[in-house]
């Protein structure tokens, strides 16, 4: 009896010691369901084919207070995009009232509520300018993933798995519901089931952050035909506004 106990004990001990080694041996691979891939690619091609488009975003962002209470902040955004090098966003919501301008030369963020603005010189196309703003200054335009010409590439860059959930209605519009998993986030997208495969809803979940905060966005009023006035893309500073600077993004150490 004692002998059995002893070997059991030793076995248990070995198992415990080897546990970290075993758990580290899992491999990660990306697999996207073909149906989900086709639908997402259709949306990407459709959006990428626009010369210009405008749309409206109603979104909510979860915020955790220091006392661990979760609050939802609401935000409405009007986006105006004209390829290859014009962008404007009007952001209006809780604790924020901003206008973002890109005119092919510079990006300007104007804080209407705080009466401040900051500008930075930017590359000559929307895609390059958005990359630059994100990488160098951490400045992210609303729903920026959808603005890139190849949004499929941008959206699925870090995806580990993607699946087709089924048909669903978003404000009465029938949509394909797709779900994707990444290491840090899960995201879902609802794409219109019609000849105009537009994104109608997006949910992003920060799954490992305490409280798993989510961003939920409804996208509507898509318009790719009404001409957009050129004047809305250039910023003219009001007299009393103060100019400030963007802080460079914190450098992240890389090993290559």
């Amino acid at each position: 009896m004692v002998r059995i106990k002893k070997w059991f004990f030793c076995g248990l001990c070995l198992l415990l010691m080897s546990a970290p080694a075993l758990s580290g041996a899992q491999e990660e691979e990306s697999s996207i369901d073909p149906q989900a891939e086709t639908i997402l690619r259709q949306m990407s091609a459709y959006l990428g084919g626009f010369q210009q488009f405008t749309f409206h975003i109603e979104n909510s962002v979860d915020t955790l207070l220091p006392c661990n209470q979760k609050l939802q902040l609401l935000r409405a955004v009007d986006m105006f995009v004209k390829r290859p090098n014009r962008l404007r966003a009007n952001i209006d919501g809780d604790e924020v009232s901003q206008e973002l301008y890109y005119d092919g030369k510079s990006i300007t963020l104007y804080g209407k509520d705080a009466n401040i603005y900051a500008s930075l010189d930017a590359p000559p196309t929307i895609d390059a300018a958005m990359d630059y703003a994100i990488e160098s200054y951490g400045l992210v335009a609303p729903m920026v993933d959808l603005i890139y010409e190849d949004s499929y590439e941008i959206l699925t860059g870090d995806v580990q798995s993607g699946s087709y959930v089924g048909l669903s209605k978003v404000f009465g519009v029938e949509c394909h519901h797709l779900a994707f998993q990444e290491a840090q986030t899960d995201w879902q997208i609802w794409i219109e089931n019609s000849k105009t495969p537009l994104p109608r809803k997006i949910v992003i979940t920060d799954k490992w952050v305490a409280g798993a905060p989510q961003l939920t966005a409804f996208l509507n009023n898509w318009d790719s035909s009404t001409p957009i006035k050129e004047s809305i893309f250039s910023f003219e500073a009001p007299d009393t506004v103060e100019k400030i600077e963007f802080l460079p993004a914190e450098k992240i150490a890389t090993f290559d």
């Binding site: 004692v2 002998r3 106990k5 002893k6 004990f9 030793c10 952001i91 924020v96 901003q98 963020l109 804080g111 705080a114 401040i116 900051a118 200054y137 951490g138 400045l139 992210v140 103060e242 100019k243 400030i244 600077e245 963007f246 802080l247 993004a249």
Partner: protein
């Protein structure tokens, strides 16, 4: 005593040793063992709390010099402030420290900076030294460029070069 029983006792003793080691937080065979209980119990700032003495010393030393380190970022200003406008820039002054507004991505952030007039003199000091060196070098390069293009002859080139070098 049975050998099996003895062996079992030896193994048990080893585990007791390991468990005691975990609680006492001493490095067992050089393996660092993290015990979070001790950290959680430490009352920061109270003297003789294990492991925090050094921290207290650093804290007090820093406090006597300045309340917030340069570059500290805050999303809301920590206390009542006054504002000062220097060359078109608004500074928020709290207990003698200057905060300046920046955009961190889409968010407004207040960053602790040097007092504005101090910054101005520092910058002037920084610039005078290397600036003169740079211009001498630039002048020489420019001169060489002019000479290479054939705009001046060798004599003029040498004379001017000497003049620049003498002025350094």
């Amino acid at each position: 005593m049975d050998r099996a029983v003895l062996g079992f006792r030896v193994i048990m003793a080893f585990f007791v040793f390991v468990i005691i080691g975990l609680f006492l937080d001493f490095p067992l065979f050089g393996t660092p063992i993290m015990v979070s209980v001790k950290e959680a119990q430490a009352v920061i700032g109270r003297p003789l709390t294990p492991g925090s003495v050094g921290g207290v010393r650093r804290r007090t030393r820093r406090r006597t010099r300045r309340r917030w380190a340069i570059g500290t970022r805050m999303y809301t200003l920590p206390a009542a402030y006054t504002t000062v406008v220097y060359t078109g820039t608004t500074y928020y002054v709290i207990e003698g420290e200057y905060f300046k507004k920046y955009y961190e991505g889409n968010k407004v952030v207040y960053v602790v900076v040097d007092a504005p007039n101090k910054t101005a003199t520092d910058k002037a000091d920084d610039q005078t030294q290397p600036a003169s060196k740079e211009t001498a070098e630039q002048k020489l390069l420019e001169l060489k460029d002019i000479y290479d293009k054939g705009l001046i002859d060798k004599e003029e080139y040498e004379a001017k070069k000497k003049e620049i070098l003498d002025s350094m």
